[in-house]
C-alpha cells in the first residue's frame, strides 16, 4: 500500500483506521454526482428513473442507508473530496465566491472559520492522489459553454465576486446551448490547493473530454468525478414536462433528465477498458430534498412566514464540526410583510442512497450498512492506500466492506 500521500497533507491522519478487510484492487473510480433527491423517491415512488432502478441497480450494489452530510449542496461536495464539514457559507452554497478565513485547525484537521475557498494547506482527495502518483479529473458538463461566464477548464468566479453560476443560463444567440454549469457542484474549485496550481486547468475539464479519456485505460484517470449540468443532475425541473416546471432549456429535468444522463454516460463508462479491468462506478446524490414546507404567521414578528424544515438525518455518528451548530435557523427576507425561514434540525443531509457497479460487486447486492459522504471518501482513500482527510478519519467510520465488494 502507498501511504506516502498522507505525509505532507494537513488534516490527514493514518492513526484512526479500523481493522477492515483489504479492499479489492480497484484503480479506477468513477463518481457521478446527482442532485437533491430523497431515497424514498429515487428508490421508491418515482417512475422517472427506470434506467437507474431497473437496469443499473440490479447490476451492482444498492446502498440503502447512504446519507448525505449536509444541506443545502456545496457542503456535501466539499465533504466528499476533503472531509471538511459544513461552514456557514458552504451550507448556504456560497453565493459570493470568497476565501475561507481560517483561524486554525482542530485536532482532527478540520478548518475552523468561515468562507468558501479553503486555503492551500487544506488538502483534498485530488491532492492525496497526486502525492501518491495517481491521477484524477473532474468532468463538468456545460463548463465554458459561455466562456464569458466561466472558463472551459477550472471554471469558477473571480475571488470576491458574486457567483453568476448560481443560476442556470438559458440559450441565447451567443450561447445556443445555454450554460447550466454550477461552480457549487464542482468541489475542486473551492480549494486553493487545486485552483492555485496549473493542474486545475488540465484536470477540471469539460464533460466531453471523458469520452476521449475512456478510450484507453492509460488515459482514464484513477478518479473521475462527474458532475452533470443543473438539468441533468436533477437539480432543476421536476421531470414532469409540465410548463414552467422544467429546466431553462426546456428539458424536463428532475430524475427524468438525470436518468437520461445516466443512460448516455454509464454505458460508455462500463464499456471502457479501465472500468472493465479494475473499475468502480458510484452513483449518488449530494443531498435529499425531503423537507416540510409550511406557510403561516410568525408569532414573534406577526409577519407571513414560509417555513422549510430539513430533518437533517445523519448516520455514522456524524459530527457538526467546528463551524456550524444544530438546530440552525436561517431567515430570508422577502418584503416588509413576509420572510422565508430555513430550519436545519440535524447535521446530516438526509437519506439518499447510492448505486455502485464494479467487476468486484455481484449483481443484486444490497447493503444496509450505514454510509455517508465521509465514508465514501474514506473508502476511496483506502482503495489507493491513502490517509484519511478530515472527517473521513472519524473513529469508527466504516469504509465500504465485504457487504459492498461481494465479488472479492
Amino acid at each position: 500500500m502507498l501511504m506516502s500521500g498522507c505525509v505532507a497533507l494537513a488534516g490527514c491522519t493514518t492513526g484512526s483506521r479500523n481493522a477492515v478487510p483489504a479492499p479489492p484492487p480497484l484503480r479506477h473510480v468513477f463518481i457521478i454526482m446527482l442532485e437533491n433527491q430523497d431515497y424514498k423517491d429515487t428508490f421508491g415512488s418515482s417512475t422517472q428513473d427506470p434506467y437507474l432502478m431497473n437496469t443499473l441497480r440490479p447490476m451492482g450494489a444498492q446502498l440503502t442507508q447512504y446519507f448525505a452530510t449536509g444541506h443545502q449542496s456545496l457542503d456535501n461536495y466539499i465533504a466528499l473530496i476533503s472531509g471538511q464539514p459544513s461552514s456557514l457559507q458552504t451550507q448556504g452554497d456560497c453565493e459570493r465566491y470568497k476565501d475561507f478565513q481560517m483561524s486554525g485547525l482542530t485536532a482532527d484537521g478540520l478548518a475552523i472559520g468561515d468562507g468558501c475557498v479553503y486555503p492551500a494547506s487544506v488538502k483534498t482527495l485530488a491532492n492525496q492522489l497526486e502525492s501518491a502518483g495517481y491521477s484524477w479529473k473532474g468532468y463538468m458538463e456545460d463548463m465554458g459553454n459561455d466562456p464569458s461566464r466561466e472558463s472551459e477548464s477550472c471554471g469558477h468566479p473571480a475571488l470576491g465576486d458574486l457567483d453568476r453560476t448560481q443560476n442556470p443560463q438559458a440559450p441565447s444567440a451567443a450561447v445556443p446551448m445555454g450554460d447550466q454549469y454550477a461552480a457549487r457542484h464542482d468541489p475542486f474549485v473551492y480549494f486553493h490547493a487545486i485552483i492555485d496550481t496549473p493542474r486545475c486547468a488540465t484536470q477540471v475539464v469539460r464533460l466531453e473530454q471523458l469520452s476521449t479519456d475512456l478510450a484507453q485505460s492509460a488515459s482514464t484517470p484513477n478518479l473521475a468525478f462527474i458532475t452533470p449540468n443543473l438539468c441533468h443532475d436533477g437539480h432543476d425541473g421536476d421531470g414532469s414536462g409540465a410548463p414552467g416546471r422544467g429546466c431553462v432549456n426546456g428539458e424536463p429535468g428532475g430524475l427524468r433528465s438525470a436518468d437520461e444522463f445516466l443512460k448516455t454516460w454509464v454505458p460508455r463508462i462500463l464499456a471502457s477498458p479501465a472500468y472493465q479491468r479494475d473499475g468502480l462506478l458510484i452513483i449518488t446524490f449530494d443531498e435529499s430534498n425531503a423537507a416540510s414546507v409550511t406557510t403561516g404567521k410568525d408569532s414573534v414578528s406577526g409577519m407571513k412566514m414560509t417555513r422549510a424544515v430539513f430533518a437533517g438525518a445523519a448516520c455514522c455518528n456524524q459530527q457538526n464540526g467546528p463551524n456550524v451548530t444544530r438546530p440552525a435557523i436561517i431567515d430570508f427576507p422577502v418584503d416588509e410583510q413576509e420572510f422565508y425561514r430555513l430550519e436545519l434540525t440535524g447535521i446530516g443531509g438526509d437519506r439518499i442512497g447510492a448505486v455502485l457497479l464494479s467487476p468486484f460487486i455481484k449483481s443484486g447486492t444490497v447493503s444496509e450498512v450505514p454510509y455517508n459522504h465521509y465514508a465514501l471518501l474514506r473508502s476511496v482513500e483506502d482503495l489507493f492506500g491513502l490517509g484519511h482527510l478530515g472527517y473521513a478519519a472519524q473513529p469508527g467510520l466504516a469504509p465500504f466492506g465485504p457487504d459492498v465488494y461481494t465479488r472479492h
Binding site: 444541506h71 473571480a158 443560476n167 438559458a170 444567440a173 445555454g178 423537507a291 414546507v293 422549510a308 416588509e336
Partner: protein, 381 residues
C-alpha cells in the same frame, strides 16, 4: 425530450447567398432603415432605435409616436439595442426540483427574453411586433408589409437570397424579412463597438478620474450602490467586456408616468411580466411589476429612463434608487394589492422609513461620473 436551442433556425438562409452576393444581414440593414415599412411611411425601426443614440430613442419623450398618422403614442420607453441582443437568453425562470431551494434561493428571478417584459424569445419574433402594432409601425397585416417589400429597392436582394417566388408566399416573405432584421441586429458591428472609455480602461488604454474611480467602487459595493448585482460590471472569464446587465427581472417601484397617454386611464397598469402586453404569465401575480434589467452602457446619453420613461436624467435615475421610499408616489404604478412585489431586499432599495439613504449627493455625483464612462465614442450626447 424537448429542448430549446437558439440559432439553428437562423442558418437556413445565410447559406443561400453565394460568395460575393448579398448577405441576409445586409438586407436586414436595408429593412431596418426603411421608413416605407410603416403605415405612415415615416417610421423606420431606426427612427426609434436611432444608431446615433446607441440604437435607443433619439429624444427625451417617454414614449414615441406611431400609427398610420404618427398620432398614437407607445406604452413604454424605447430600449437601446446595443450590446445585449446576442447575449439575451430566452425567457426562463429556474424551477428547482427541491421545494426548499425554490423558497430559499431568493436570487433566482426570471431572466431573459426580448422587450421590457421578455415576451419574445427571438429577435425574429420580436421584429414582427413593431411592424404590426397599431401603436408603432402600424401595418394592417403581413400582406401589407410584404406588398411594400415587393416594391422596395432591395426587392431584388430579397429574391436572390430567398428565391425568385418568395413574394408569392406572404408568410414566408414576412418571415424572411424578420430573419433579415435579426441577422442585421446580431451581426452588424455597429451593435457592439465597445468604444467607451470604460472599455479603454479595461484594456489598459485609459485612466479614470478620481470621481469615476469612486463611482466604480460605489457601483460595485454591495453595501452602497450595489448596482453590479444586476448591472454586471466585471469582465467575463474570457476577458470579454461586461454588458452591464444580467437580464434579470426586478420590480423597482418606479412612480407612474403621466406623460404616457395610456396612463390617463386609472384602471390601466403596465405590470411587465404579468401583462397586459405579455399574456402568458397573467396568473403569476407575484411577478406583476417586474421588468427586465437594461444595460447601462450609453445610459448617460439617454434622456428617458426606466420602462415607463418617468425619469429624464441619469442623475435622477440614480437618485431614485437612493431615495425611492422618501417619495410620496409610493409604487403608484401598480395596483395597491400588488405593491408588495416591489423589491425591498436588495441594497440600496432596502431602506425603511427614517433610514438615511445609502448614497449621499456626492456619491450620486460619483456614480453618474462612472456611468458616463460607459458611453460609446460615437453616441450623440
Amino acid at each position: 425530450m424537448r429542448s430549446v436551442a437558439v440559432g439553428a433556425a437562423l442558418l437556413c438562409c445565410a447559406a443561400a447567398a453565394g460568395a460575393g452576393g448579398p448577405s441576409v444581414a445586409a438586407l436586414g440593414r436595408e429593412l431596418f432603415f426603411d421608413a416605407s415599412l410603416s403605415a405612415s411611411g415615416r417610421l423606420a425601426c431606426a427612427t426609434c432605435h436611432d444608431p446615433h443614440h446607441a440604437y435607443g430613442p433619439p429624444d427625451g419623450r417617454a414614449v414615441q409616436p406611431g400609427g398610420a398618422a404618427l398620432r398614437t403614442m407607445g406604452l413604454r420607453a424605447v430600449p437601446a439595442l446595443r450590446y445585449t441582443l446576442r447575449h439575451t437568453p430566452v425567457w426562463s425562470k429556474q424551477y428547482q426540483a427541491s421545494a426548499v431551494e425554490r423558497v430559499t434561493e431568493t436570487d433566482s428571478v426570471p431572466v431573459g427574453g426580448f422587450d421590457w417584459d421578455g415576451r419574445f424569445n427571438s429577435l425574429h419574433d420580436q421584429a414582427a411586433s413593431p411592424l404590426l402594432s397599431p401603436l408603432e409601425m402600424g401595418n394592417a397585416s403581413i400582406e401589407a408589409v410584404v406588398s411594400t417589400l415587393r416594391r422596395a429597392p432591395y426587392a431584388g436582394q430579397f429574391r436572390e437570397l430567398f428565391g425568385a417566388r418568395i413574394f408569392a408566399d406572404a408568410p414566408a416573405a414576412f418571415g424572411a424579412a424578420l430573419q433579415a432584421l435579426e441577422r442585421f441586429e446580431l451581426d452588424d458591428a455597429s451593435f457592439h463597438p465597445y468604444s467607451s472609455r470604460y472599455d479603454a480602461f479595461l484594456d489598459g488604454k485609459a485612466m479614470l478620474s478620481a470621481a469615476e474611480v469612486r463611482g466604480l467602487g460605489l457601483f460595485n459595493d454591495p453595501l452602497k450602490g450595489n448596482c453590479s448585482a444586476c448591472h454586471t460590471s466585471t469582465p467575463g472569464a474570457d476577458g470579454s467586456h461586461p454588458l452591464f446587465t444580467d437580464f434579470g427581472f426586478a420590480a423597482l417601484g418606479v412612480p407612474r408616468n403621466g406623460e404616457i397617454p395610456a396612463n390617463k386611464d386609472p384602471e390601466y397598469f403596465d405590470m411587465g411580466l404579468c401583462g397586459p402586453l405579455r399574456t402568458d404569465l397573467a396568473a403569476r401575480r407575484h411577478w406583476c411589476g417586474l421588468f427586465k434589467t437594461p444595460t447601462l452602457r450609453n445610459a448617460a446619453t439617454r434622456r428617458v429612463f426606466f420602462h415607463n420613461g418617468r425619469v429624464h436624467t441619469l442623475r435622477d435615475a440614480v437618485r431614485f434608487y437612493a431615495e425611492r421610499d422618501r417619495q410620496p408616489e409610493r409604487y403608484d404604478d401598480l395596483p395597491v394589492a400588488l405593491r408588495g412585489n416591489v423589491d425591498h431586499i436588495d441594497v440600496p432599495l432596502n431602506r425603511r422609513p427614517g433610514d438615511a439613504p445609502t448614497l449621499s449627493a456626492a456619491d450620486i455625483d460619483d456614480l453618474v461620473a462612472f456611468i458616463a464612462t460607459l458611453s460609446d465614442a460615437d453616441v450623440e450626447q
